[in-house]
């Protein structure tokens, strides 16, 4: 047992498997599929119809549809991942996890792994809606570049979600943070309008969220940029996501200590 717990890769893998099994034990598959197919559709539809109504020449239907298609990953990578610690708390399992000798990092990263698959599926479905329902033209799209954008954005945003999740160790619920960042993405990440529309003091904040790079790369890929053309943007996005994971780990250690000191581990 001790050998098992001291092997971070085994802990990571078992955590990922348990997370997947737990998801389907808790959420029936029909509900999961409904969520997968519908959650991105209505958000995209809302902003597409809004763009149609506003008729801002800089914000076309394609601009909004592509931005929202990629941003739909946030429902999984921000909302689901951020709630990992909160859900453990609500189920009464957080203390057991924290007293085990297994690496926290392996446990929580493992827990997020299935959400990467889930997130990529959500984005692919959202792009399908953009093409079929909202007539976005994909005839010039470099699909390899678009696939790479989806992959990197999903990983980077999951890292960002893990960073936010660490707050759940201390707060009564991480859902508040998840909600704030889920919707802040719509405002700050160039999903529905260019970053230049934002007040100057908000623009730097956009660039610490990986999604900002993702939306830019996705639009470039849709209009024909090759993988080499967006490589720099994706590299920066991956780096930002990796830094988020490192900061998240440091925060997790810190918040765990505070929660132990204040006895707030079971507060929800």
């Amino acid at each position: 047992m001790a050998v098992y717990a001291s092997n971070p890769f085994r802990v990571f893998w078992s955590s990922a498997v348990v997370a997947k099994n737990a998801l389907f034990a808790w959420l029936n598959p029909a509900m999961w599929i409904t969520q997968l197919f519908f959650i991105s559709l209505f958000q995209m539809a809302f902003f597409v119809y809004l763009a149609t109504f506003v008729q801002n020449p800089q914000v076309s239907v394609a601009y909004v549809a592509v931005g929202n298609a990629l941003q739909s990953v946030a429902y999984v990578s921000i909302y689901a991942v951020c709630n990992i610690t909160g859900e453990e708390k609500q189920q009464g399992t957080l203390q057991n996890i924290l007293v085990s000798p297994a690496s926290r990092f392996s446990i929580f990263v493992g827990r997020a792994m299935f959400q990467i698959v889930n997130g990529m599926a959500t984005v692919v479905i959202a792009f399908f809606y953009a093409a079929v329902l909202f007539q976005v033209d994909f005839s010039r799209t470099d699909f390899l570049a678009l696939a790479a954008t989806i992959l990197v954005t999903t990983f980077a945003m999951t890292g960002f979600g893990l960073m936010l999740s660490s707050l759940g160790l201390y707060l009564r619920t991480s859902m508040i943070i998840a909600n704030i960042f889920l919707f802040l993405g719509l405002l700050l990440c160039g999903v529905n309008f260019p970053i230049s529309y934002l007040p100057p003091f908000l623009q730097p904040i956009s660039y610490i969220i990986p999604m900002t790079y993702g939306t830019e790369a996705a639009r470039m890929a849709v209009t024909g940029s090759t993988l080499s053309g967006i490589a720099l943007i994706l590299t920066v996005e991956a780096v930002v996501g990796f830094i988020a994971v490192l900061i998240g780990y440091a925060m997790m250690v810190r918040f765990e200590r505070i929660a132990r000191e204040k006895g707030s581990m079971e507060r929800f």
Binding site: L50, F53, L186, F193
Partner: protein, 262 residues
């Protein structure tokens, strides 16, 4: 009288919960507030009354966000806290307990919607010059009550599922789209018109626009009072449906012993 006492006790209980943990206002207001900001930024080159679409829609979204979270989370929270069996086992029917909670949420919903309006006016300098303030206020409150009635239906459904949280998140945007909260429903595909028109808040937001705008060209042909009458009728239908659903849900959940499944 015991029912009214239960209603009042539930209202008071929900209020204490809110004051004990006011952070719940954040998710209720954050989505409508941010979406309103996004819309106002999109409208930045547009002037005139059309900008009021964003502000009025933001207010309505604030109310719906609050109603939806209240209906979804009140059941889910009971599950987590282990109090749901006690609530159902009480001699007063569950509908009176939920109604008390919904009334408190409706009250917070009014403040929530108003806060969105105030922020839009003060931060974004949107001129909120209402054409007919009193009829606007009437439509605003009636829309909130219609949203509360719609929320009651969802509350009943949430009792039967462990996925209330998932459904709560997923039901926010469909109502924003279906009711045309920020744009005229004429932009939606024709096949979706029956769905939109079956939602009471669709008529509510239309009535609010009739009252607020001097030149409202996208309005439904029923006009302000027609909108109000249809909204009232639909709200009564929702209420009847919610009561019927709660009776069924009460029976099914007792039979299947599924209440405590967190």
């Amino acid at each position: 009288m015991p029912r009214v006492r239960a209603l009042y006790a539930s209202f008071k209980h929900q209020a204490w919960h809110f004051f004990a943990d006011p952070q719940w206002l954040i998710p209720n207001i954050i989505a409508p507030f941010i979406v309103t900001m996004v819309v106002l930024l999109l409208f930045q080159d547009v002037t005139g009354e059309v900008v009021l679409y964003a502000v009025l829609g933001g207010g309505m979204m604030g109310m719906w966000g609050n109603t939806l979270y209240a209906s979804g989370w009140s059941i889910q929270s009971d599950r987590w806290w282990g109090t749901i069996d006690g609530v159902f086992a009480a001699p007063t029917h569950i509908i009176w307990v939920i109604a008390g909670r919904s009334l408190w949420s409706a009250l917070i919903g009014v403040l929530n919607g108003l806060l969105v309006l105030v922020i839009a006016v003060t931060v974004f300098q949107v001129p909120l010059e209402l054409n007919q303030p009193l009829t606007f206020l009437l439509a605003y409150i009636a829309t909130l009550l219609s949203l509360a009635c719609l929320g009651l239906i969802f509350s009943a459904a949430f009792v039967l599922t462990r996925s209330a949280q998932v459904l709560t998140n997923g039901l926010e945007f469909p109502i924003y789209v279906g009711t045309g909260s920020m744009f005229p429903i004429a932009l939606l595909p024709l096949w979706s018109a029956p769905l939109s028109l079956s939602l009471a808040p669709t008529w509510g937001i239309d009535a609010m626009r009739y009252a607020a705008l001097t030149d409202y060209t996208w309005g439904l042909p029923t006009g302000y009072w027609g909108d109000m009458a249809i909204m009232g009728l639909l709200s009564l239908v929702y209420l009847g449906l919610a009561i019927w659903l709660f009776i069924i849900v009460d029976r099914v959940s007792r039979r299947d012993a599924s209440l405590g499944r967190a």
